[in-house]
């Protein structure tokens, strides 16, 4: 069985400027995979290449053995529907209520009856602890609530893969931890593969099963593996990063 996500020789950039080159890694089904690195190393660019927002300059991304960027537009859209994406700021549609935000993918891509969609929406919002906030608009929510609502929307179609950009940015440590626990719970219960783009150390070490470290200076990946292993006996640069610069 092929790896759930397979990235081969991926090079991304803007025009002549290469952000990251030669990325090679695989994500197994049911893993929480952490993409880490300092500011500006290209974590978000990698995420955009994974979810289909920005074509890589070179290389391939495959989901369960199926090539993503080489596929036709229709096939790529079909693959995209198996992805749930949580953007950094939530990216909730500001003119829709929370319930409408979560319901929209269901209305678009399933043939479910309205009542059933309403039930699913209520359940997803309850799952992220936002039961009863159905009729709220995103502008009426706190940052943490927006993140959780974004997660509810990302999970609307029961995706095989959740891609999460900076889950803990802008959240207090306890809220961030609860979000981490929620992600782990979803993985454990539903078997979802999770790709987390983050530089939050606590989160990386707590929930990561596997990881890749993108280096901003050399524009490529310099380490891959379990974050705890990387901390104990990994590359010096990665240990430096994982200990906030305290590693000897």
């Amino acid at each position: 069985m092929p790896a759930h996500i397979e990235v081969r020789d991926l090079t991304m950039g803007y025009g002549d400027f290469v952000v990251q080159r030669g990325l090679d890694f695989a994500v197994n089904q049911g893993d929480i995979f952490v993409v880490m690195g300092g500011n500006g190393c290209g974590k978000t660019t990698l995420m955009r290449a994974l979810v289909g927002l920005q074509a890589p300059l070179q290389g391939s991304v495959a989901y369960a053995g199926e090539d993503f960027w080489g596929a036709t537009d229709d096939d790529r859209q079909r693959l995209q529907r198996r992805l749930g994406i949580l953007f950094q700021g939530g990216a909730l549609w500001s003119s829709l209520t929370l319930a409408e935000n979560v319901a929209l993918p269901l209305h678009e891509y399933t043939k479910l009856a309205r009542v059933q969609i309403d039930e699913i929406v209520a359940f997803k919002l309850a799952l992220v602890g936002l039961a009863g906030f159905d009729e709220f608009y995103p502008s009426e929510l706190s940052g943490g609530m927006k993140k959780r609502a974004g997660l509810a929307r990302a999970m609307a179609l029961d995706p095989d893969i959740l891609v999460i950009d900076e889950p803990s940015s802008g959240l207090d440590p306890l809220t961030a931890r609860r979000l981490d626990e929620l992600i782990v719970e979803l993985r454990d219960s539903l078997g979802t593969t999770v790709v987390v783009v983050t530089h939050d150390l606590a989160s990386i070490l707590a929930i990561g099963d596997n990881s890749v470290y993108l280096d901003a200076d050399t524009h490529t990946m310099i380490a891959t593996g379990h974050p705890q292993d990387a901390l104990k006996n990994g590359n010096a640069k990665v240990r430096h990063f994982l200990t906030r610069g305290n590693a000897k």
């Binding site: 500001s94 009863g132 719970e185």
Partner: protein, 379 residues
């Protein structure tokens, strides 16, 4: 996955205990399977049932479809005081249900939902309108104070912004102002020719077009064009800044958002709209001349001297002052709606629309008042 058959649902008694029911779930319980609603079990669970258990040994595959179904059963059972034994469910379902039911539903007071009656809507709109007036006057006051600060040299804004706005508002509007003014001049000439032919005074087309364009129509058309082009842009710019909290950022730095953002836009329009009005008048007169020359056989020189005879300095003064006032009103409406913008994409669109509507309304009211006043004063 063992079996991809459709869902199966069965409710049976648990041995000899009449108060317990077992819900047996089998097959695929996924959202693409046209699943039953939890309410369909209502009759089967009526009567003396006190406990419910689950049997999911036949379950092949599940997702949110199963979760919402079971959650629905849990909720209705909780209302009827029926005990739920979730041990029969897959461990993942148990955990997710616990998670979803852990946080009680927030009861938020005062949220108005559902459709309102006609009277309520009219009432709400009226209240909204009356509440808008003091806000508008408040903003007007702030703008006037800001203009006073400008006169005393204490207003803080970037000179560069002013030049950028002037370029955006003035030169870049020339193409559209040219086209509209030419066509309006042409229409005026035809309209005049038709009426003046009755009395054989076709040469007076020149008077009509010159005075009409310079005094009235040039300013009005320019005002409406700029309201649509620039007023909407101002509202969208400031509205987006409101969404991104940029205006709050100015405020917290102690920078007056009115000085910094509204003043340069106001000045740019007050300077450029009169100039565009003048330009519009010239283009309109050229159109009139073209029509006279080609259709009604009036010579270029004749038309030119007649135009010069008709035009007096006061006509230009009237046109320029109208242009200035319209410019101020467009800037006022655009900035007002932008600053009042809510925090969503929809609100930005609403601000832009509302800015154009407000600007055109204000322009038309001002045009009427000024025309009457100038007539009474004999200017």
């Amino acid at each position: 996955m063992r079996d991809a058959a459709a869902w199966q649902l069965d409710v049976r008694a648990a041995g000899a205990d009449p108060a317990t029911r077992i819900i047996a779930l089998g097959g695929r319980w996924c959202i693409d399977q046209n699943l039953p609603a939890a309410a369909s079990l209502k009759e089967k669970l009526a009567g003396p049932v006190r406990r419910i258990g689950f049997d999911t040994r036949g379950l092949a595959d599940w997702d949110s479809g199963l979760l919402t179904f079971v959650a629905g059963i849990c909720k209705s059972c909780a209302r009827q005081g029926i005990e739920i034994d979730d041990n029969g469910l897959p461990p993942g379902v148990q955990r997710l249900l616990a998670l979803a039911l852990a946080v009680p539903e927030q009861k938020v007071a005062g949220r108005e939902n559902g459709p309102q009656g006609l009277f309520a809507q009219v009432g709400a709109a009226t209240i909204e309108f009356w509440r808008g007036i003091p806000l508008m006057l408040d903003f007007l006051g702030q703008v006037v104070l800001s203009l006073l600060r400008l006169l005393t040299g204490r207003a803080r804004f970037r000179r560069r912004d002013l030049w950028l706005e002037i370029e955006e508002v003035g030169p870049r509007a020339l193409p559209i102002v040219s086209v509209i003014s030419f066509l309006v001049g042409l229409i005026l000439a035809y309209l005049g020719a038709d009426q003046l032919r009755l009395v054989g005074a076709q040469l007076f087309i020149a008077d009509l077009v010159a005075i009409g364009m310079v005094r009235e129509v040039g300013a009005l058309m320019t005002g409406i064009i700029i309201a649509g082009r620039t007023g909407a842009a101002f509202a969208a710019q400031l509205g987006t800044m409101q969404v991104n909290e940029e205006i709050d950022a100015y405020k917290t730095l102690g920078i007056s958002a009115v000085d910094f953002l509204v003043l340069p836009r106001m000045l740019a329009l007050m300077l450029m709209v009169p100039l565009l009005t003048l330009y519009s008048g010239v283009i309109g007169m050229l159109a009139g001349m073209l029509v006279s020359l080609t259709i009604f056989d009036i010579g270029v020189f004749e038309y030119y001297t007649e135009t010069l005879r008709a035009l007096e300095l006061k006509h230009f003064a009237v046109g320029l002052s109208k242009g200035s006032v319209y410019g101020a009103m467009i800037a006022f409406a655009g900035c007002l709606r932008g600053m009042q913008c809510g925090r969503s994409a929809e609100a930005v669109g609403h601000a832009a629309t509302s800015a154009v509507v407000t600007a055109i309304l204000l322009i038309t009211i001002a045009a009427s008042i000024m025309t009457i006043v100038f007539y009474q004063l004999g200017i």
